[in-house]
Structure formats: structure tokens, C-alpha cells
Symmetry: C2
Subunit: 306 residues, 2 copies
DNA sequence: CTAATGTCTTTTATCGTGAAAAAACAGTTT
DNA sequence: AAACTGTTTTTTCACGATAAAAGACATTAG
């Protein structure tokens, strides 16, 4: 097997959703833009849609015959990229048992365990190395540095430096900058979420990321913007296994965000600084409490089953 | 060809230098540590040294027969790693003509041009991407962002943030920290270089890197320490083609370093901050003047021949 | 004559393979 | 018995090959 056709499968699934809305599909290039794939892939999708009786396809006419059924969709797990698969497996091992700092990482073993080629694992590890959790020994194995308290402290130190600067830059943006509209929209979403926090608290982490990325973008500095990938990655996996007081934590965070947004809108540097610091402080605290000193890794039992 | 034996060749060359100093070589594991390679490689080296009549080798006895001649060494170019070769080729293209921002990078073409496999090029590009000069389009080509004025400004912004913080941390280090001895040694080297700047000015860039890395290490933050790789890389290639006023620039920088060192030794935060800022300001100025606005890329004629 | 479709070419993503290098194991020497 | 040498196994590094996906070119429809 050379390369899985997950791009096609994923685009196909997304394409199915278009059938609900219209009676006939647009042109091939247009569909390509819509689904973010090349025309080659679009044509493969259309061919299958015709085959399964979803549409008739003749040159420019693509008429919808029926609405898609659940079994028309490809299974979710077949739509993942290889690197997503590898990342998930790797993170599971890292957060699960036996991942002591200093431990060595074996490319071949990882590849065999996940059932992929070594090349993909190597490429993943190289990409992953920028997160500062692993390190390469020249001509030899990788070493796990571990998701330790030191790591969390170093990460948050940079985060705070970058976010304070970005927030200040944000507040200094001219009135007519489009970011203010983006901020208004995010504010609305926050208010909505705050009202329904009891049931929708697990939707916070996605909103959190969008909010902070908007702020970081105001720095106009690629290194700052890119660094948010590190934070997002850590928080993503951190949230997955640390579900303790999730509702309460997120409720507090939403309130802090709203205060932060208000400060930004006031455009008063001191208020922005204070609101930003306050939120970052509690974010750091949350992260740190999940990595108790002495007991470096979480309890196996606390891990999400999957 | 599967894998070049450059590790062996490089270690062999370094091993030859040991023959000048002693009449008999140490044990295999000891040699391994000395040359930074495995015992397997050491044994290959010893086998060749025996073959070419440099030593006699029988179990524990490794007697030196003669001093190595220039032709005993492997040619320099055979000792480079593949990634060094790829990096050099890539940077030459980048700094030479036709590297306009927005241009797309073709893995296959690069691989063919350099004469290596695509895998190595891919891995290089992934590693290189953290420098912020290129960006990947999913399932498609890489895009060159270019060595522009914006890049230089973003880079120096982070550098200044990080170095000011590291310098402050450095000055706050306890008296008995070993870094003070390291700093003294570097100070001596600076004084020596300052005295002979007329002839040795080109040795500055190596000293510069060691000095700044020492300071950054005081931050005890892996992200700050790692970021110096970006700076070092840029300065390395920048120095290669921008030779204008090299002597003068380095003379100024040495003086600034000495003032900076004195400030650190005073342990006065304000003095440290001032000296650090002053040096960073002229470093930024030097970098920026070499990337003139409008004329984004350097003149072909200004490139180093190689 | 513009914008689509039909067809062909190139590039990317991934694997299996094999040599270089590391690492593990076993047997010797002091 | 500690540290070395000899031998075998495992892992890393790099390549060529191949299917998926992108992209380019040619043709046709409106």
C-alpha cells in the first residue's frame, strides 16, 4: 500500500453534505475550491456519487437524485491523515503509562506498533520535535524529555511574554481594522456559551483556541503566531485527559475572556495588561495542577478510553 | 546507494589527528567516546588504519607506526552529512537569484538537482520550516516566504525579547554558578580578538554565537535556547554573503560585547539592560541594512563563490 | 472567447528494501 | 570481576518505486 485515499474519502463525506442543500451541483473547479481539493479528486468523488445513485452526471449537469443516507458516508477513521493517526498513537503512549523522561524512542518499534512505514514516523518525529518534548541524538535514537512541570513552566513563560505583547498590539490597532468585528463575533459566542455553560462547557476549548489565535495574529510576527501551535497542541491533549472540574474551569475561563475582551475594546493598555495577566495566571495554574510534582505522569485510570 | 559512510569518514579524519599525539591508541570504547561514534565505527576505522600502515592492531595493542600524511585523510566534501549538503544547496538557491517570495518549492526538482532522494529533501524541508522562511500547503508544494525585511524584523523582535530576559536572568545568577567562569574565558577571548582584530576579524562570528548561546542558556527555557538556532542559522548565511565592512562591523561588535560582559559582571540590572539593548540595536541595524527595501534579494555578484 | 470538461503529466505521500551505524550479547584477557 | 575484544542483532538513514492527488494542457460547450 502506497498512500491511502483519505483526502478523497474526507472530501467525499463533506461533499455529501452539499447534496442536502441543492438540487444540482456547481462546476468541478468550484467544487474543488469548496472542498479544498483538486479537480482530480472532485471527479473521483462525482464518479462515485453517480455510481451509488446519488446524482446523475453528464458533463455540466450534476443533478441530485436523492439525499445521502448514513451508510453513504465513509467511516470516520478512514478519513484521518497518517500524521494524525501517528500523532494520536504517540500522544496516547506519552500520556499513558511508562513514559518516563529520559526514555528513548524507537522509530522502528513505533512504526511497527502503529502499522505504518518508518518514513512517516520519522517525519512525524521531526515535525513534533519543535514542541520541545523530544530531542534527537545524532545518528541515533530520540530521547523523551517528558511532559514535566519544567516543560509546563517554560511553555507558559513564553506564552505569557507573547500574549502580553500581542494583546498590547491588538489594543493599539486602528478603529477600522477588521479584527474588531472578529472580536465582536467572538464576544457574542462567548456570551452565548456563558449562558448555556451547564450543557455546552466542552465546546469551550475550540472557542478558546480561536480567541487566542486572533489575539496572537495582531503581533504580526510569524514566530509568535507559530508558537501558538505548541500551546494548542498541549492544551488539546491536556484537556483530553484532565477532565477534573472541567465545567468549573471553563466557566471561569469564559468569564475571564469576557473581561479580557472588554479590556481590549476599552483600548486602555493598563486594563488590557491586567485582564491578560489575570487570565494567563489562571491558565498556568490549571495546567500546573494537572502535572503534580513528584508524580510526573497522570494516573492511568484518568485517561480517556479510546 | 543506500547511505553514505560519512560518519565513518569524518570520524576517521578526526581519528588521524590523534596519531600525532600518542604512540599507542586507547581502548575501543574510549575511542568511541572521544570521537563520538559507536564501537562498530571505531573498529572500521582501526581496520583501515592498519590496512594503510598507520598502526598495528592486535586486540588491545594499537601501536602507532607513522604520522598521518595529508593524503591519508578523506576529502572534506565526503565527510558532510546529507542534510548539510541539502541545506547548503538550498540556501545558495535562496540567497542567489530568482528566489522571489511566494515562489513555490518543488521537492522532486530539488532532489534531482542536488542528486539525492526525495525523502531526504522532504525531511530537510520539514526541519527547515521552523525557521519561518517556508510554509507547506497541505498535500501540495511548499511556498517560499522569502528572506525579506519583514522576516528580519520579526526575527529580531523575538531575539530582543528573549535576550533581554536571558541577560537579566544571567546577571541574577548566584556568585558560585559556573557560568561566571565561562564568561571570564569568553571575555579573555574577546580581548585577544580585539587586539588582533585587523587579521582575525573573520573569527568573530563563531565567538559571537558562543557568547550569545551562553547568555541564552541562563534563561533555562528550552524555547529560548532553541530559538537561537534560528538566529544562528540566519547570521551564518548572512555573514557569508554580506562581507561589506565586515572588519568594522566586527570591531564594533567586539567592543559592544566587552561592554555587555562588564555590565553582566556588575550584576546591575539597569546596566545589563542598557548594554544588551545597545548591542541588539546595532545587530538589528546590520542585518536590516543588508536587506534593502525594494530590492529584496542581494546582488548575484555579491555572493560568495564556492 | 470565456469557462467548463476531458485527458495527460508531474508531484506528493508512503512503503519496502538494504547498507551504515548503533547497540546488545557473548566470550576473553588482565 | 571489571573492562576489553569478538560477534550478532537491531535500528537508523537513504533510496527507488508506486498509488493518490495535484496540476497542466487540450478540447468543447455555452
Amino acid at each position: 500500500m502506497s498512500k491511502s485515499n483519505n483526502v478523497y474519502k474526507d472530501a467525499y463525506n463533506r461533499g455529501l453534505r452539499l447534496l442536502d442543500e441543492t438540487k444540482s451541483l456547481p462546476s468541478e473547479p468550484e467544487l474543488g475550491v469548496l472542498l479544498g481539493v483538486s479537480r482530480t479528486t472532485i471527479r473521483t468523488i462525482l464518479a462515485r456519487m453517480e455510481e451509488t445513485g446519488l446524482i446523475t452526471w453528464n458533463k455540466r449537469s450534476k443533478t441530485v437524485l436523492r439525499v445521502p443516507r448514513p451508510d453513504d458516508f465513509f467511516p470516520e477513521e478512514e478519513t484521518d491523515t497518517l500524521s494524525q493517526i501517528i500523532e494520536r498513537s504517540f500522544m496516547r503512549r506519552l500520556l499513558a503509562g511508562g513514559a518516563e523522561p529520559g526514555m528513548q524512542i524507537n522509530e522502528l518499534e513505533l512504526a511497527r506498533e502503529i502499522g505504518v512505514g518508518t518514513t512517516s514516523v520519522r517525519e512525524f518525529l521531526i515535525r513534533f520535535s519543535r514542541f520541545g518534548l523530544i530531542e534527537k541524538r545524532r545518528n541515533s535514537h530520540w530521547v523523551l524529555k517528558g511532559f514535566t512541570r519544567a516543560f509546563a513552566l517554560e511553555l507558559t513563560e513564553i506564552r505569557e511574554m507573547f500574549e502580553l505583547r500581542s494583546a498590547a498590539a491588538f489594543a493599539a490597532l486602528p478603529e477600522d481594522s477588521p479584527v474588531w468585528a472578529d472580536l465582536d463575533l467572538l464576544e457574542d459566542e462567548h456570551r452565548l456559551l456563558a449562558r448555556e455553560i451547564a450543557t455546552r462547557f466542552n465546546e469551550f476549548s475550540e472557542l478558546d483556541e480561536r480567541f487566542h489565535r486572533l489575539i496572537h495574529r495582531a503581533s504580526h510576527n510569524r514566530f509568535i503566531v507559530d508558537f501558538y501551535d505548541v500551546i494548542a497542541m498541549i492544551f488539546h491533549y491536556h484537556y483530553q485527559w484532565n477532565k477534573a472540574q472541567e465545567r468549573e474551569r471553563n466557566e471561569v475561563a469564559v468569564a475571564e475572556h469576557l473581561a479580557y475582551i472588554a479590556a481590549l475594546k476599552s483600548r486602555d493598555p493598563d486594563k488590557v495588561d491586567a485582564a491578560c495577566r489575570k487570565h494567563l495566571k489562571s491558565a498556568r495554574h490549571t495546567l500546573l495542577t494537572s502535572i503534580p510534582e513528584g508524580q510526573q505522569r497522570p494516573d492511568r485510570a484518568a485517561l480517556p478510553q479510546q
